[in-house]
């Protein structure tokens, strides 16, 4: 089972947190910080695997991908295959990339509601739900259509969000 999905930037700021076993916010924050402490100490060109026993309890593993300014982290137990999890991170990233056309950190910051929608189409209650990014996109587009049909909620384009960002 996947225990948690954490997306954070290279300064350790959380951009998306999803815990599939309830954790109070302080705990979520603490866990995120510990994960960041481990990841930030890792050099490039090493494996994508980290034993997470010390942070998430015995038997847990962590797989991460470091892309531009972001860390994508999946935490899971011994029932999952490490490389399959790494592939699933890739599916998430590819989906985001297609959804936001060259995704960058700002997209994720300002569309964090969208992130939740996308993630919910890929992972469901800690289990892999969908692995085809086409299907995920279709589902997400359908949801966007429904959202717009009554009041408009669309994601914020980069050009506009840039104005608010630093």
């Amino acid at each position: 089972m996947i225990r948690a999905v954490i997306v954070m930037n290279t300064q350790g700021k959380p951009r998306l947190l999803k815990f599939y076993e309830f954790q109070p916010p302080e705990k979520q924050h603490e866990l995120t910080r510990s994960v960041f402490a481990v990841l930030s100490g890792r050099p490039d060109n090493v494996s994508n695997f980290v034993e997470a026993d010390a942070i998430f309890g015995p038997g847990t593993r962590l797989v991460y991908k470091h892309l531009a300014t972001l860390y994508f982290v999946f935490v899971f137990d011994s029932c999952e295959n490490e490389l399959a999890m790494l592939d699933l991170i890739q599916v998430l990233v590819e989906t985001l990339d297609r959804c936001f056309k060259n995704v960058c950190e700002l997209d994720i910051v300002f569309n964090f509601n969208k992130m939740h929608t996308i993630l919910d189409e890929i992972i469901f209650g800690g289990q892999v739900l969908e692995t085809s990014s086409e299907r995920v996109l279709k589902a997400v587009e359908e949801i966007s259509r429904l959202e717009k049909s009554s009041s408009s909620v669309s994601f914020v384009p980069k050009s506009v969000s840039g104005r608010f960002g630093r």
Partner: protein, 1025 residues
Amino acid sequence: MALTGMRGLSVFISDVRNCQNKEQERLRVDKELGNIRTRFKNEKALTHYKKKKYVWKMLYIYMLGYDVDFGHMEAVSLISAPKYPEKQVGYIVTSCLLTENHEFLRMVINTVRNDIIGRNETFQCLALTMVGNIGGKEFSESLATDVQKLLVSSSCRPLVRKKAALCLLRLYRKNPDVVNIDGWSDRMSQLLDERDLGVLTSVMSLFVALVSNNVEAYWNCLPKCVKILERLGRNQDVPQEYTYHGIPSPWIQVKTMRALQYFPTIEDPNTKRALFEVLQRILMGTDVVKNVNKNNAAHAILFEALALVVHLDAEKEMMSQCVALLGKFVAVREPNIRYLGLENMTRMLLVSDVQDIIKSHQAQIIISLKDPDISIRRRALDLLYGMCDVTNAKDIVEELLQYLNTADFAMREELALKAAILAEKFAPDLSWYVDVILQLIDKAGDFVSDDIWYRVVQFVTNNEDLQPYAATKAREYLEKPVLHETMVKVSAYLLGEYNHLLARRTGCTPKEIFIIINEKLPTVTTSTVAIVLSTYAKILMHNHPPDPELQEQIWSIFRKYESYIDVEIQQRAVEYIALCNKGAALVDVLAEMPKFPERQSALLKKAEVAEVDTAEQSAIRIRSQQQTSNALVVTDQRPTEGSLPVSQLGVVRMPSGKMEASTQDQTSFQDQGMTKENGVITEVVPQDVPPADLLGDLLGPLAINGSPATAVPVEQRNQNLLSVVEATPEAAGSLALTTVDNQPNSIQPIVNIAERFNELCLKDSGVLYEDLHIQIGIKAEWQAHHGHIVLFLGNKNTSPLVSVQALILPPTHLKMELSLVPETVPPRAQVQCPLEFVNLRASRDVAVLDFSYKFGTAMVYVKLRLPAVINKFLQPISVTAEEFFAQWKSLSGPPLKLQEVLRGVKPLSLPEMANLFTSLHLAVNPGIDTNPNNLIACTTFYSESTRATLCLIRVETDPSDRTQLRITIASGDPTLTFELKESIKEYLVNIPTQTSSAVVAPSQPQSPVTPVAYNDPGAMLAGLL
């Protein structure tokens, strides 16, 4: 247009981003929270849209790590909104902010159900997602049937059905009964025929969960799994969208192979052949390619295939093929593949016949021990540890010692422990073992636990030919200008015992040894001072012909410590001075330590405990557990001169009063085992309690054999002098276990049964019992007044355990049902026996499992308490102060409200106590009691007749004296109040070992005689004098 929807949200996010520091951020967040709170409070007619906006903001704030303790109602109420956008936010935010037990969720069950059974697919998806993320037992009860219908419905779109499958998985975890219906396994089998790979992905996850808990029910699905692998392997009927970099859904392939690892074997030859063909193709057809993602996916499948091959115990040829592949992987540069190569090679160690091939890769593996990636270093260490045996121990251990110099701090302790264990297990000769341990202490003293140096002392004491060597080494190390304190301890101890063996060497006169040790004295801590004082006393004894100057120097040190602040040191100093005046008696009293009785190494035990502490269900884990623990047990029986079998412990020791106190904490003494004889209290420690540790042996002031002759000179301290004599091997053999028909049990448990039981009272899975042949694990689930325990009977041997019988003696308050226990447990197999409980009323009586099996000619009987104790039928509940006080007042006085002052409580800090309470299923509610030293906890008790009964607990502690407290318990049922109070009391007073029940399997020896062990040197001496 783009911003009209959530402009407020975007503005808020960029505001937060523009904050210069944490303080500003907090201010901005507080302001926003204040704003949202007032809106929610004052504007009754808030539009759904505005609510939606605020709720998203709350979720953002929550993600930043701030507690959002209001607005939950608003989030939940959005679920009932008629339009999609609001409903969507309601569902998403609810599943992020609330826990499964949140009371608000109860209010929306009906809405959720309507969404699920309604015709609107998008609403169905939302509802399923929320339930799948946080659905609890109540959801399980009311929704499981509807979710099942969606899953098997032919009219539903795949989008809905795949969510239904995973939603059902969640509901199943909350209540396994949801699939306990006739024909479910057939339905499962049909589901595995699914053509849509999206749905199949989810179905396979559901299947893995089901099969991991109950393989027996799903044998019919096994051929289907193989069919799926064949279909994907041949890339038949796989749509483009489900190929990942050209590979047909790696996720389904991996999950399917994972599912197959839960089946112990594959009987059907056709299925087996088909599967092996698939596996063969995977093993042969996977190449390292340039595209990283493709590479990952292909290797994900390959590694899972390897695991499956190992699980199936394939023919030798295929195994060799696997090892060859792994050999390739441990040498590749790609770090992920190398990492997994090392890990899987470690698993491969369990396969017989391939060890030699693995050993041929040793040099390559050692290179990974120096990799820049700590993850890889850890894997390499594990593998080296696992592959070590007598042939390569020297190389590997020396490699580890060398690595110790440069290893990161995070790994040093583990490294030190592993090196020590390997040195002990596989030492080609004992002097090498001594060298290794001394080097370890020298290089990494801070990371060497006491167990490690106790063990080396034990070895030296038990092997005469080793003593001069060890003493010489100790003397050499003392030359070093800077010495770790542990090294001072070992050296001082060894030289105290064996300085006379070095007498003729240069620099080794008693005086020289005294001087060099004494140089270290000013810098060491009290625990070392204690050892050094004993060493001086021993040096004094060997001071022949007497050197008055040395004598005076030592005496002056003793006198100095006579008034030392530490009682232990003071006592030693006083006693040694007194002893010195006894003249010839000194020689008797200070005689060399007798041999230690052979016992299971504390180190090996530690390694074992670390490896078997969970009853994890993964097939591989179970295998490795069985194998590992077995290996340790076997090697532990290394025949040492005059040794006794591990299971028969016998120890003579004479700790001081202080030691006694510490032992008493750790062991449960049986009163009837105590006798008084010759003014020396002799305690018979029951067999099930392993000697607490070696501390008692080594740090006891002197190695005195408990005999009248030696006791006389030290009469003045007889008051606090206790000799703890364990049951002798003979006595233990015949009396150690309560047997059904008083037959002797030759097999002894290798875990502390009482301790295991106590641990399992506080958690839900773990090992209940273990001996040389069998390990009984437990996994329990509790749900209101129902309990479901699965016993895992694991045979550790290569031959079957027969005549297996399990009888349950249920107490009157529990209704129990044990499924059939198979008469035979096949070699290296694990059998699961589910057990159902229904709680009828509150009681502290304990159910007992009467378990027996036959191995070879030995019949083994054990009685095991089952951890179906009262606190398991509690469910924690949080209440507000108002609710609490209303109840508290209405339950006035006995018998509904009982109060007791407890003394002799194990001292616990409040957080520790809160932790204990949480483990007992009592919800600690901070803030209700204004006094910070008090603790309020609430829980609900479930029984068949009463359903939920609220129980309130208040503990008042005294910060100045943690050993006493006052506890008040109130509930609507007098029996419950009483039983609960007594139960909590037991936990508070007797942590961690309680002796509440007399049916601990190995019972105390029946006659309180002072045991005399004629083959134990210490006890023999005691007997003679």
